[in-house]
Symmetry: C2
Subunit: 328 residues, 2 copies
């Protein structure tokens, strides 16, 4: 294992210390290293809280700040955060209007956020499940919540900043999740520091098609294909799943898993954009970069989110976080 | 070689097409794929132009836009752009106040930018050479220009936006370059698409200490050390080179080479920040991310740039590019 670390036991806390020091104008750590919280809370605003296993950075801590999350709870790598993390975060960032938990659909995450919701008051939840690759998987019953979670956090975060109520934000989150679909492909495995070896073996000419963000299996192992062929199959899967909704305006988000350079991500964006446009979608918003990662895994996912006038406007609303920033 | 591409011959043009489509509000391609230009030029502003071999994205195309570059000329991967690219870019983005070329100190780049400067009128140049690792290297006489180039482009770009003249911007660029030092370490090699195999061989427990951004050799091949030990040696090299200037306020920039996850970059930032603070530097600006890359190479560089009140203010000035954006 080749990593820039001091000890596998302190990777997460040392990284969080650096993160908090680098972005002290935006955020702070809470409860030791239990959560990352927005530095300036906005009284009367519904608090948005997310979290999950670490290793997907900048998701979720990189999205704490104005216009997105109020707190993020990091578990150990590929391990759900514990309920006390969310309970303490909610107690600290709830300014009286309640909290919305945004949870990726993984069994551990769902269970622990549920327990935290029961132990607190004034909590509602949105569970994201945008991955069309497989119905059930290693860590999940039903579809996995993957890169589309960023889209939910951005759009609901903008609406929360405008002062909307908890039930309305929950409904908006569910609506964005239902309009958002993703699928990914891995060319190499990630290596979890505590494990010290690759999560899965993969041949020199193979790809894992439909991979999850923990390196868990997808639809099939296949020979590595061209970018156009990969994009074609992913876009067809997404479009087929969305069915009649594939028209009008959309956000196209090409997400790197960590080990793939920006040059390849833009090349995949170029392929995917043409394919969706041929199917009658107009790409009005774009995001290309490594935002929902799997440590050092090479590969990418493609996310399409169908937008209406309101969600397109909310996507553009000002945001000031470590990883996404515009309009301020 | 495992890459998301269609053909090694079309990697660059397809990637540039995707890049231009994703950021059409900020930039456009010029002369086919000869340069990336800012969409809206500002009459009377000195035009800033940079460029170099591709594979270091987002450098330089990702820095085209308000408050940074007016044009960037991409060569093939690890290959300098040709003089006609810079000549055409200058002709298109010069609105009458002249052009400043910002050039990383590599022999091919320096030669081709020099030729372009001779073929055009009203050109001045800043050559960056922030890498303290080695005095001469595979592609370079003297020090290499590496991640510190971003700092020069940001600060000079902000000053150009304020309407300063060509000679003043050239002097500012030279001043920022002289206050900026970098050094990097690689854990794995990059793989250039046209070569199809790793640029260099490296053992499972080795690192290349002082590596260049093309994967060219650094100070020595060594056993992989802890993050703190690596940071300590890099910070000592930077501080030793800056000498008496290591005090007061500074920007600390931890740059990923492409294959290293954000978790490790923030951990390195944490180590480096403490080390510089012990030496009497106050870190007042921070940047952590993969901005000056070497395709999929794992590793990072550390850059320290000593700031005065003016350069600290210019770093914070509004910028709107694909890769750096704040204040607007």
């Amino acid at each position: 294992m080749k990593k820039l670390i001091n000890s596998v036991d302190t990777v997460l806390t040392e990284s969080l210390d650096g993160f908090a020091a680098a972005h002290a104008d935006i955020l702070a750590l809470g409860g030791g290293h239990k959560f990352i919280r927005r530095r300036s809370l906005k009284p009367g605003k519904v608090a948005l809280i997310s979290g999950g296993g670490s290793g997907h950075e900048p998701l979720h801590g990189g999205f704490v700040g104005h216009g997105m999350l109020d707190a993020a709870c990091p578990g150990q790598v590929s391990t759900s955060p514990t309920p006390d993390q969310m309970v303490e975060a909610a107690a600290e960032v709830d300014t009286g209007a309640g909290c919305l938990f945004i949870v990726k659909n993984y069994e551990g995450d769902v269970m622990n956020f549920d327990m935290a919701a029961e132990m607190s008051e004034g909590i509602m939840q949105v569970v994201t499940n945008d991955d069309v690759a497989v119905e059930d998987s290693l860590y999940t019953t039903g579809r996995r919540g993957v890169a589309g979670t960023l889209v939910v956090e951005k759009i609901v975060g903008a609406a929360a900043e405008e002062g909307r109520g908890l039930a309305e934000l929950k409904a908006l989150g569910d609506r964005v999740n239902a309009a958002t679909r993703s699928m990914g492909v891995a060319l190499t495995s990630c290596t979890v520091p505590a494990a010290g070896r690759p999560t899965f073996d993969i041949g020199d000419n193979e790809m894992e098609f439909g991979v999850g963000i923990h390196g868990e299996p997808g639809r099939r192992r296949d020979a590595l294909k061209s970018a156009d062929e990969i994009a074609d199959e992913i876009c067809a899967a997404i479009a087929g799943d969305l069915g009649m909704r594939v028209n009008g305006n959309a956000l196209l988000f090409v997400n790197g898993f960590g080990g793939t350079p920006s040059m390849e991500l833009y090349l995949m964006y170029n392929s995917a954009r043409k394919l969706f446009e041929k199917r009658g979608v107009t790409i009005v918003r774009s995001l290309v970069g490594s935002y929902v990662t799997s440590l050092d895994m090479a590969g990418c996912s493609i996310t399409l989110s169908i937008l209406d006038d309101e969600t397109a406007r909310l996507w553009n609303a000002p945001v000031h976080t470590a990883a996404l920033r515009w309009g301020m």
